[in-house]
C-alpha cells in the first residue's frame, strides 16, 4: 500500500502524544525514503511519554518530537548517490547517525555509539530527532541494513534491541563454557541471555522478581535456568541474597553477570554474584549515581563495564537470527496499528502481566 500522507506520532510533552500528518521528506544525497512497517516500544520511549525528559534534557512543546527507534521497513525511494539499496529492499533501520568525523566515529568506526554528536531517532540529545513512529522517513542508506526475505518486519524491528544484547555480550569475556547470570527478564535480559548462549555460554541463569516473566523466559529459551528473587530492600540483603543464589546454583562460579534492570540493589547483587576476576556488564539505565560495593570490586577484581547501544552490530545480529542461533519468536506479544499508537503507550504504561514487547506498525 502506498500512502499519500505521512501519519506520525508526535510527543509535545509528557502524556501529550498526538497523531499528526507530516510532509513526506524527499531523501537527500545518500539517503533513502523508507515506508516504516514496524516500530517496537522500548523503556526509553515510555520514559519520554511518561516524563517528557531524558536525563537533564526536557522536551519543549514548541519543538515536539516523533517517538520511536526500533524500526524496520521497505525502501520506497532512493536519494542521489545510493547504490547499495534499491526500491523494494526490506531493511532493519539502525537509528543512530554519528558525526563521522570524531575519533569515536573514525577509529575504524569501532565506537561510533560514543560519538558526542550522535543524532539518535526519537531522542532529545543533539535534537529533538524525529523518530520512526511515522509512515515514511528519510534516512542515510548506510544505516539501513538489508533483511533476508525470510525475516518479518516484526523481527526486523527487534534487531535494534538484539544489537544491544549482541554488542554487550561481545564486549565481555563470555565464551565457550562460560557461566552467565542475567538480572532482569524483560526484553533486554531475554535477548542478552539468548546472545550469551549464541556466544557459547555453558549455562545462563536469569533472575527476576516476577514469576510470569521467568516462565516466559523458560519458554523462550528452554535451556535457560531461572530463579525467582524476593523484593530486596537493603544492600546487606543484596549481598546475603547473592550468597544464597550462588549456593542454589550448584555453587557454580558465575563468570559474567549482565545487569538489565538499572535497579540499585541489582547492580550491587551483580558484583556479589560474580566470581573473583569475573565481569559485570551494566546494560540497564537507572539513577545517574548509584552506591556500589567498591571494596568487593577491588578485592575481587570484578571488572565493571557499561554498555551504550551498539556499534557494527546489525549485520551480526541479522545473521545470528537468520542462522537460527538466536530465536525471536514469541517476544512480540502485542501489536497496534500506527493510528493506535496512543493505545500502545497506554498499554506499555500499565506494566501488565503478559506484556513483553509491544510493536506498532503495518505488518
Amino acid at each position: 500500500m502506498v500512502y499519500q500522507t505521512n501519519t506520525a506520532a508526535v510527543l509535545y510533552q509528557a502524556h501529550d502524544l498526538r497523531m499528526e500528518e507530516r510532509p513526506i521528506e524527499t531523501p537527500g544525497n545518500g539517503e533513502v525514503l523508507i515506508n516504516i512497517r514496524a516500530t517496537g516500544i522500548c523503556g526509553s520511549d515510555l520514559h519520554y511519554y511518561l516524563d517528557g525528559t531524558m536525563g537533564p534534557l526536557k522536551l519543549d512543546p514548541s519543538a515536539p518530537m516523533i517517538l520511536g527507534h526500533e524500526a524496520s521497513g521497505i525502501v520506497a525511494q532512493l536519494g542521489s548517490g545510493v547504490t547499495e539499496l534499491k526500491i523494494g529492499d526490506r531493511v532493519a533501520i539502525e537509528p543512530g547517525r554519528g558525526c563521522q568525523e570524531c575519533r569515536y566515529c573514525k577509529q575504524d568506526g569501532g565506537e561510533y555509539n560514543l560519538c558526542p554528536k550522535m543524532k539518535f531517532l526519537g531522542s532529545l540529545r543533539q535534537g529533538p530527532n524525529d523518530g520512526s513512529l511515522r509512515r515514511y522517513a528519510s534516512f542515510p542508506a548506510y544505516l539501513c541494513h538489508k533483511m533476508p526475505e525470510s525475516m518479518s518486519y516484526e523481527d526486523g524491528a527487534l534487531i535494534e534491541p538484539l544489537s544491544v544484547a549482541v554488542y554487550a555480550v561481545d564486549r565481555t569475556p563470555v565464551k565457550q563454557e562460560s557461566i552467565v547470570a542475567v538480572l532482569g527478564a524483560g526484553p533486554v535480559g531475554l535477548l542478552t541471555a539468548a546472545a550469551a548462549f549464541a556466544q557459547g555460554a555453558k549455562s545462563v541463569l536469569i533472575l527476576d522478581i516476577n514469576a510470569s516473566r521467568l516462565e516466559f523466559a523458560s519458554k523462550y529459551l528452554p535451556n535457560i535456568e531461572t530463579m525467582l528473587l524476593p523484593k530486596i530492600a537493603s544492600l546487606d540483603e543484596a549481598q546475603q541474597q547473592s550468597e544464597k543464589i550462588q549456593k542454589a546454583f550448584d555453587s557454580q562460579e558465575i563468570d559474567v553477570t549482565f545487569e538489565c534492570t538499572g535497579v540499585v540493589v541489582c547492580v550491587n547483587m551483580a558484583v556479589h554474584l560474580t566470581r573473583p576476576g569475573g565481569s559485570v556488564m551494566l546494560i540497564g539505565l537507572g539513577k545517574p549515581s548509584t552506591i556500589m560495593p567498591t571494596n568487593a570490586i577491588i578485592t575481587k577484581q570484578v571488572n565493571i563495564q557499561g554498555n551504550f547501544r551498539y556499534a557494527n552490530s546489525y549485520p551480526k545480529s541479522i545473521q545470528l537470527v537468520q542462522q537460527e542461533k538466536i530465536p525471536l519468536n514469541g517476544l512480540v506479544t502485542h501489536r497496534f496499528a500506527l493510528e493506535d499508537t496512543l493505545k500502545a503507550f497506554e498499554l506499555a504504561k500499565q506494566n501488565a502481566e503478559g506484556v513483553m514487547k509491544i510493536q506498532i506498525g503495518d505488518f
Binding site: 536525563g55 546494560i283 539505565l285 552506591i291 556500589m292 560495593p293 567498591t294 577491588i298
Partner: protein, 369 residues
C-alpha cells in the same frame, strides 16, 4: 633447622598504636623454604591502619601480630629442595603465599586465591622481624647493583606496575593519577615506563606535589579541600570540570591511589569515553559512583588487588619484572625513601608513618642484626 629464638626480635602489634619488640619463634624450615635475615622493611598504609585501629574491615588483630610486608634481606638458610636461591643471596620477599592449586592460582590470577596467607594480614605474621621463613617461589634474588632498600620497594612498585597493566596503558596515553603517596608515585613511574605521553598527578598536599614535580610526572594538580558541608559528589563534579578545563581533555585512564570517595568518583568522571578508571586505593565498603558515565560513556571500572602476573605478551611474575625495571634504571625508587628507623624503634617508625610529618613518603625500618 632452627635458629636461636632469642635472636628473632620482632615488632608485634599488641594494642592500639602499641608495638612490643619481642622475640618470636622461627618456624621450622621446610624442604622448599628459605630463611631470610630481614634487613629492610617499608611501612605501608595497611600497616598504619592496623597500627591505628587494630583492624581493617572484617580483619581484626585479636592476638599479637608482627607487622610489615614490604621487605628485603639476606638468605641465611635454605631447605633441602630449594634451587632458586643460595645462602648469602640478597632477596626481595613477595609477601603473599597462595595455595598454588586452586583455579585462580592455576590460571595465573593468584592474587585472587581465596587461601592466600599474606604477611601482616591477621593471622599471618609480618616481616618486621629478624628472621622470616618463606617458600622459595615467593623469594626473588636481587641483582648486585640493587640495594636492599630498593628491594624493599619492589612490593609497592609491583602494585604500581600491575595497576598500569590493569589500566592497559599504551604508548601515547594521557594518564591521570590521583594521590601522590608512594603507590601513586610508583604508578606514575610505571605509567611512564609503559609509554604514557603525559602523566598528571593530583593531590591535596602541596609538599607531595613538590616532590612529584621531581618524580615521573609531567603535570601536578593541587586539589583544594571540599568546602564545609559540601557533598562528595558536588566536590567531585566541580573539581572534575575544573580539571578538564585545565587539561583541555579527559584522560585515557585515571588511576585512583587514594580510596577516597571523592577521588573514586572523579576517576570515573575524568576518564574518556571507552577508557578505564582503575581503583587501586582501598576505601569504604560502599561508595557512590556516577554509574551514568559507566554505562552511557562506557567507562570501565577495574579494581587492583595487590599483583600477580603482568605483561600481555608473555606472562611474567610482577616481582621479577619490577626488579628488572630497577636494574635497567627505567624506574628509580630511591628518592621515595625519606626516613629510616632502626628496628628497635619500630613504634616510632609506625607513629611517624601514621602522622606523615616532615614530608614523609616511604619510611623504612632497618635491621642491622
Amino acid at each position: 633447622m632452627t635458629f636461636d629464638v632469642e635472636k628473632n626480635l620482632s615488632a608485634a602489634l599488641i594494642g592500639l598504636e602499641k608495638i612490643d619488640m619481642r622475640n618470636m619463634p622461627v618456624p621450622e624450615l621446610g624442604p622448599f623454604d628459605v630463611l631470610v635475615n630481614v634487613k629492610v622493611t617499608g611501612i605501608c598504609g595497611s600497616d598504619v591502619h592496623f597500627f591505628k585501629h587494630n583492624r581493617i574491615l572484617h580483619l581484626e588483630v585479636t592476638e599479637p601480630l608482627v607487622l610489615g610486608h614490604e621487605s628485603a634481606g639476606v638468605v641465611v638458610a635454605i631447605g633441602s629442595q630449594v634451587t632458586r636461591v643460595n645462602v648469602n643471596d640478597r632477596v626481595a620477599i613477595e609477601p603473599g603465599v597462595t595455595c598454588r592449586t586452586c583455579e585462580m592460582c592455576k590460571s595465573g590470577q593468584y592474587n585472587l586465591c581465596p587461601h592466600c596467607k599474606f604477611a601482616a594480614t591477621p593471622p599471618t605474621h609480618g616481616t618486621l622481624c629478624n628472621y622470616y621463613v618463606h617458600p622459595e617461589d615467593f623469594i626473588f634474588k636481587l641483582p648486585d647493583d640493587i640495594s636492599l632498600e630498593e628491594g624493599a620497594l619492589v612490593e609497592p612498585l609491583s602494585v604500581g606496575m600491575y595497576a598500569v597493566e590493569r589500566a592497559n596503558v599504551k604508548p601515547g596515553d594521557v594518564v591521570l593519577v590521583l594521590g601522590a603517596g608512594p603507590v601513586g608515585l610508583l604508578t606514575c613511574a610505571a605509567a611512564k615506563a609503559a609509554g604514557a605521553a603525559q602523566v598528571i598527578i593530583a593531590d591535596l598536599i602541596p609538599s607531595r606535589l613538590e616532590f612529584a614535580k621531581t618524580y615521573a610526572t609531567d603535570t601536578q594538580l593541587l586539589l583544594d579541600r571540599p568546602e564545609k558541608g559540601e557533598p562528595n559528589f558536588e566536590y567531585a563534579r566541580r573539581t572534575s570540570t575544573q580539571i578538564i578545563q585545565k587539561l583541555g581533555q579527559q584522560a585515557d585512564t585515571v588511576l585512583d591511589c587514594t580510596g577516597a570517595e571523592t577521588c573514586v568518583q572523579m576517576a570515573v568522571l575524568l576518564t574518556k569515553s571507552g577508557g578505564s578508571a582503575v581503583l587501586v586505593g582501598l576505601g569504604a565498603t560502599t561508595q557512590t559512583l556516577p554509574v551514568v558515565d559507566i554505562t552511557v560513556r562506557q567507562v570501565n571500572v577495574k579494581g587492583v588487588f595487590r599483583y600477580c602476573n603482568v605483561s600481555p605478551v608473555s606472562i611474567v611474575r610482577a616481582y621479577p619484572r619490577a626488579i628488572s625495571m630497577l636494574t635497567k634504571g627505567n624506574i628509580d625508587v630511591k628518592p621515595l625513601i625519606t626516613h629510616t628507623y632502626p628496628i628497635e624503634k619500630s613504634q616510632e617508625a609506625l607513629l611517624h608513618a601514621t602522622n606523615g610529618s616532615d614530608g614523609a613518603i616511604k619510611i623504612q625500618v632497618i635491621n642491622d642484626q
